[in-house]
């Protein structure tokens, strides 16, 4: 079967607002929800939507991300007709090819896309938490005979000035784009999800490159260029849970929302599963002294303390008389005895020694970095 659509997941960004959580790993590889990494949502959406040809564009600290995505087999994206491919900077006869922006990353990978020879290219971001049927958006794109369809979602009017906003006419055609406008004319925020007709987009990217005017970014350069040329750009409205976990606070609150068994993301829905590349580990062991309520615990955990309203990722150890509340603990963290943690994110492989207290607040979530050690002899002050 010929490839109709290539999905490009842009996963190269650092996500610097996540601070030490993205020092050594790219944002889409940040752990989420006990058993996942952020990119699992975009990859699972691709798999569930039948978009089997996926390019994952990576650049910043990609080791863990690449290892996680592998050949895509965890998401069923390693078929004879469709596969996941990691795309990273490379060199060529023309020189070194780093990716300077979202559109530039696509420009640098024209060869990859051309090899698949698709009719459409779908641009996705690797760092959003949501469930979406991309096939429906593609159907809409075809129906409207659009050359570009932008995924949008209505946001509260008071928040609209924080987003790229799309003003549409009555037919949902986009007639204006405002990046973080002071006085938004619309509350339809761009989700950073685009469907392009490939031949058209390629022409824009190549022609402008030839004129030395690089179209570096989709929002800043490509959409305005499309608007200038009166292309058929349509807005596709998405209703449902969608979250950009770009800051410590939003990462923490997205996890707390995820924890709710009534949450609309419904992680247990067998018809739209979120896949991940899980480790082979032991069952979760809750000992005699454990007390666990309103929490998610993952395989490989050994829990002797108290856990309230928290997500504990795989292979975490929690010692006796420790208490974890309103927190998200990433995989392989080791928490000693008599530790108290509240409103915090504990990084992968962190070690929290006996007797330590880590107390955050709603406005100031405490963060312990990956492999960081807190308390104990090594850091006694």
């Amino acid at each position: 079967m010929k490839t109709e659509t290539v999905a490009m997941i842009l996963a190269g960004g650092q996500g610097s607002r996540l601070g030490k959580l993205t020092k050594h790993i790219a944002k889409p590889a940040v752990p989420f929800g006990g058993n996942y990494r952020i990119i699992d949502f975009a990859l699972s959406n691709c798999a569930n939507s039948g978009m089997n040809d996926v390019g994952v564009v990576t650049q910043y600290q990609p080791l863990i991300l690449n290892n996680h995505v592998g050949n895509g087999s965890s998401w069923g994206l390693n078929r004879h007709n469709g596969e996941a491919t990691i795309l990273q900077p490379y060199s060529s006869m023309e020189g070194e090819k780093f990716f300077k922006g979202t559109a530039h990353a696509v420009f640098q990978n024209i060869d990859f896309i051309d090899k698949k020879n698709p009719k459409y290219v779908m641009i996705l971001s690797g760092d959003h938490i949501y469930k979406m049927d991309y096939q429906k958006m593609l159907d809409y794109h075809k129906e409207q005979e659009a050359t570009l369809t932008v995924g949008v979602m209505p946001v509260p009017w008071e928040d609209a000035s924080r987003f790229g906003v799309m003003n549409t006419d009555k037919t949902d055609r986009i007639i204006e784009f405002q990046e973080k406008p002071e006085n938004p004319k619309s509350n339809l925020a761009s989700m950073g999800i685009y469907i392009f007709n490939w031949d058209r987009l390629k022409k824009y990217l190549v022609d402008n490159q030839a004129k030395d005017r690089q179209l570096t970014d989709f929002g800043h350069h490509v959409i305005p260029a499309y608007l200038r040329n009166n292309e058929a750009i349509f807005a596709y409205s998405f209703e449902g849970y969608w979250k950009d976990v770009g800051t410590i606070e939003s990462l923490w609150s997205a996890n707390m929302e995820f924890l709710d068994p009534e949450h609309e993301l419904d992680i247990r829905d067998r018809n739209w599963r979120v896949y991940s590349n899980n480790p082979n580990t032991t069952p979760q062991f809750l000992t005699e002294s454990a007390k666990v309520t309103d929490s998610m615990i993952t395989d490989g955990c050994y829990i002797s303390g108290e856990v309230v309203h928290s997500i504990i990722s795989h292979n975490v150890k929690i010692g006796k008389n420790s208490s974890i509340k309103d927190s998200f603990v990433m995989p392989n963290a080791v928490i000693g005895e008599n530790v108290k943690i509240e409103k915090a994110i504990i990084g992968e492989g962190a070690q929290i020694h006996d007797g330590t207290e880590i107390i955050g607040s709603d406005d100031n979530i405490e963060v312990v970095g990956y492999d960081e050690e807190v308390g104990g002899y090594t850091d006694e002050n």
């Binding site: 068994p261 062991f285 809750l286 000992t287 309103d294 997500i311 990722s313």
Partner: protein
């Protein structure tokens, strides 16, 4: 280092005393410790020494086993490199069988597998001796002793196996403690406090010794079993040694020992011995979500797999994947297998629920530590405790 070893998994194992759990699965497929099946343990041992292939001999159709093992990729048994998994189902023990056509296949299958494997050694294992063996240590012992055949044993109390156990014990030479001089049924020992050296029915032997035995076995219509090979080695000029295993062991020979093995995992020493002190235990990965524990959940010394939702009280129990336990349900000293659903106000104690059992609101069921109640797959348990058995 990739080991030049041809493993044979002899999974034609006695299962009468394990019914109804073995009604539709071999012993090797028995679920264990929330996430595993018994066959994961020998496979994980083999994975650690990077065995490139394995031959399986199974009685019955092996349907559940095939679906678990698939290509063997979990344990590094790839098909395009090294050989992969060779499966032989509907194997009967020779003693039970008169039809020479089937017997021909039985020996030929063994012969072809071993002769084509480029291996120096043959390893024979089963699945009913639950343990986690470091095969690299065994291999070093075998080579250091310049042994033709080395059998794994463990020192146990007579009481650790059934009174009428079908297993056997080794007799070691007095001159050389490591040398096997003979073999006898464990039933020869009657005092429950006596020690004996249990034959764990796992052995390594040189390819030549194995092929020599096979030739004899075919002529005399013998099973390819550790017991018979020990006897054969004594009759011939082969050196045969015993290698002592000191980790966790449980002989899975009836419902009682199966129940106890699972309960043993709630003891940290046993749990660590089996899962953390030796090879990592690998099982087929399934996509899963974390387990959710509700606002009023009460858990006390219990193990769970991912994908559960627990709102009630669970004590001294093991819970497999995709189990729901409603509020005010109370599970004690029980094993709840995959896909079971337990409604409100249920009370289970000393119970084993096989897969996909539905327990209706208010039902109470209580066995004893020695005789836990076993509920077959797909059953429904009604409020009054009556059980409608799954088809």
């Amino acid at each position: 280092m990739r080991t030049k070893i041809a493993p044979i998994l002899n999974l034609v194992e006695e299962n009468e005393n394990l019914k109804p759990l073995t009604n539709r699965r071999p012993v090797a497929s028995l679920p264990f410790a929330c996430r595993y099946r018994l066959v994961d343990f020998p496979f994980s041992s083999l994975s650690s020494i990077e065995a490139p292939s394995a031959a399986l001999f199974i009685s019955g159709s092996g349907h559940s086993l095939y679906d678990h093992i698939r290509s063997g990729a979990t344990w590094g048994l790839e098909s395009s490199v090294g050989g992969g998994v060779f499966t032989h189902s509907h194997i009967n023990l020779k003693a039970e069988l008169e039809d020479p056509q089937y017997q021909g296949n039985y020996y030929d299958d063994h012969y072809h597998y071993v002769s084509r494997s480029h291996a120096e050694y043959v390893m024979i294992m089963g699945s009913n001796m639950l343990s986690n063996i470091r095969l690299d240590s065994l291999l070093r012992f075998h080579e250091k002793k310049d042994s033709d055949a080395t059998v794994i044993y463990k020192k146990i109390k007579r009481s650790e196996v059934r009174e009428d156990s079908i297993h056997s014990a080794l007799i070691m030479s007095e001159k050389d403690n490591d040398k096997i001089e003979g073999i006898r049924p464990v039933t020869d020992t009657t005092d429950p406090n006596d020690s004996l050296l249990l034959n764990m029915e796992m052995m390594i032997l040189s390819k030549d010794a194995f092929l020599n035995y096979l030739f004899k076995a075919k002529k005399e219509n013998l099973d390819v079993s550790v017991k018979h090979i020990i006897t054969y080695c004594h009759g011939s000029e082969h050196n045969i040694y015993g290698y002592e295993y000191t980790g966790y062991l449980k002989v899975i020979e009836d419902i009682g020992s199966y129940y106890q093995a699972n309960m043993d995992m709630l003891n940290e020493d046993n749990f660590n011995s089996l899962f953390y002190r030796s090879n990592p235990v690998l099982t087929k990965l399934k996509n899963s979500a974390p387990t959710y524990y509700g606002k009023h959940a009460e858990i006390n010394n219990a193990q769970f797999a991912n994908d559960c939702e627990v709102y009630g009280k669970v004590e001294n129990s093991l819970v497999f994947r995709k189990v729901t336990i409603a509020e005010d349900a109370h599970i004690e000293d029980s094993i709840i297998m995959q896909d079971s659903c337990i409604e409100e106000d249920v009370h289970l104690k000393y119970v084993i629920l096989d897969k996909h059992v539905y327990v209706k609101r208010g039902a109470k069921l209580e066995g004893t530590p020695d005789e836990p109640i076993v509920v077959a797959k797909d059953s429904v348990i009604y409020e009054d405790g009556t059980i409608e058995e799954g088809e």
